[in-house]
C-alpha cells in the first residue's frame, strides 16, 4: 500500500501567478511524458519483472514519480492561484478557465486529457525497460523545454531538480536493463 507523507519531496514556492507557464507545465502533470504516465507505466510493469532488482527498481521509481506528480501539481496550482481574469486572457488560457476555473487537471495545457495510450506494459521485461529508458529521456527533454520557457527563478529551481531526477532514473534503469540481459543469457545456457 501507499502512505501519504505530508510534505513535498522538494519545495515548491511560487509567488507570482503565470497562467501561460502553468499551461506549459501541465504537460508534465497529465501529458505524454508526464509524471502520471511515468508512475503508472512503472507500477504496471513491475508485476511481470523476473528478477528482484527489476521489481524493486520499478516499484521504487514508480513511487518517486508520484511524489513528482505531486510537485508538478503544486507548481501548476501555485501558478494559477490568484491569476486575474486579465492575466488569464493575456495568457490565452480562456479555454482552461472555461472548463476548470483555475483548477489543476490531468491533461495538457491545450486540453488533451490524460490517456493510458501514452504508456505501454508489454509483458516483455527487455522491451519494457527499453521503453522506460526512452521515457526518462523524453521527460528530461520536456523539462529542458520548460526551463527554456521559464523566467521566474521560483519556477526554474524545481524544474531543474526534476530534470536531474530523470537523469538518475535513466542511469538506474540502464543498470536494470543490463541485468535483464544477463538473466536472459543465463536462462539460455542452463
Amino acid at each position: 500500500m501507499w502512505i501519504y507523507e505530508k510534505k513535498l519531496q522538494y519545495p515548491v514556492k511560487i509567488k507570482r501567478p503565470n497562467p501561460k507557464m502553468a499551461a506549459a507545465i501541465l504537460s508534465q502533470y497529465g501529458g505524454p511524458d508526464g509524471e502520471l504516465a511515468a508512475s503508472l507505466r512503472y507500477l504496471s510493469q513491475r508485476h511481470h519483472m523476473p528478477i528482484p532488482e527489476a521489481k524493486g527498481m520499478l516499484n521504487d521509481i514508480g513511487t518517486e514519480e508520484l511524489a513528482h506528480f505531486e510537485m508538478v501539481g503544486a507548481m501548476v496550482h501555485q501558478l494559477m492561484k490568484g491569476a486575474s481574469i486579465e492575466e488569464i486572457k493575456a495568457a490565452g488560457a480562456e479555454s482552461w478557465y472555461t472548463d476548470h476555473d483555475r483548477a489543476t487537471w490531468p491533461g495538457t495545457g491545450t486540453g488533451v486529457p490524460f490517456t493510458a495510450a501514452y504508456i505501454m506494459s508489454k509483458g516483455d521485461p527487455i522491451a519494457d525497460l527499453t521503453e522506460d529508458l526512452a521515457a526518462e529521456q523524453k521527460a528530461r527533454a520536456t523539462y529542458e523545454h520548460l526551463i527554456d520557457l521559464a523566467d521566474d527563478p521560483d519556477v526554474i529551481d524545481p524544474l531543474r531538480w526534476l530534470r536531474e531526477r530523470e537523469v538518475v532514473h535513466f542511469q538506474r534503469f540502464g543498470e536494470i536493463l543490463n541485468k535483464l540481459y544477463e538473466w536472459k543469457d543465463s536462462k539460455k545456457y542452463y
Partner: protein, 87 residues
C-alpha cells in the same frame, strides 16, 4: 523570506530523505554494496529522529497510523498548510 521552524525541520528531513531515496535506488541495482547499506542505515536513523521531533511539535507527518497525533484533544493531521500550499 524568513523560514519558520517547521519549514526548517522539514528541509532537514527532506535532505536526509533525499539521500536515503538515492541510496535506495542505487541499492536496488547494487544490492551487495556494504558501504551503501551502511550509509543508508545511518540516514534512516537521522530521519527517524527528525520525524519524531517534527511530529511532537506539529502532529503526524504520515497518515494511517504511521505517525502519532501529539495533541490529545484535536486531530492535527488536517492542519494547514498542506504541501501544495506552502507559500
Amino acid at each position: 523570506m524568513r523560514k519558520d521552524q517547521r519549514e526548517m525541520i522539514l528541509d532537514r528531513i527532506r535532505a536526509y530523505e533525499f539521500a536515503a531515496a538515492e541510496l535506495n535506488l542505487y541499492l536496488d541495482s547494487h544490492p551487495g554494496d556494504k558501504r551503501a547499506i551502511n550509509d543508508f542505515n545511518t540516514f534512516v536513523k537521522q530521519i527517524e529522529a527528525l520525524k519524531k521531533e517534527y511530529e511532537r511539535l506539529y502532529g503526524p507527518l504520515l497518515n494511517f497510523g504511521f505517525g502519532p497525533n501529539a495533541d490529545q484533544n484535536r486531530w492535527q493531521w488536517i492542519d494547514d498548510p498542506w504541501p501544495w500550499e506552502s507559500y
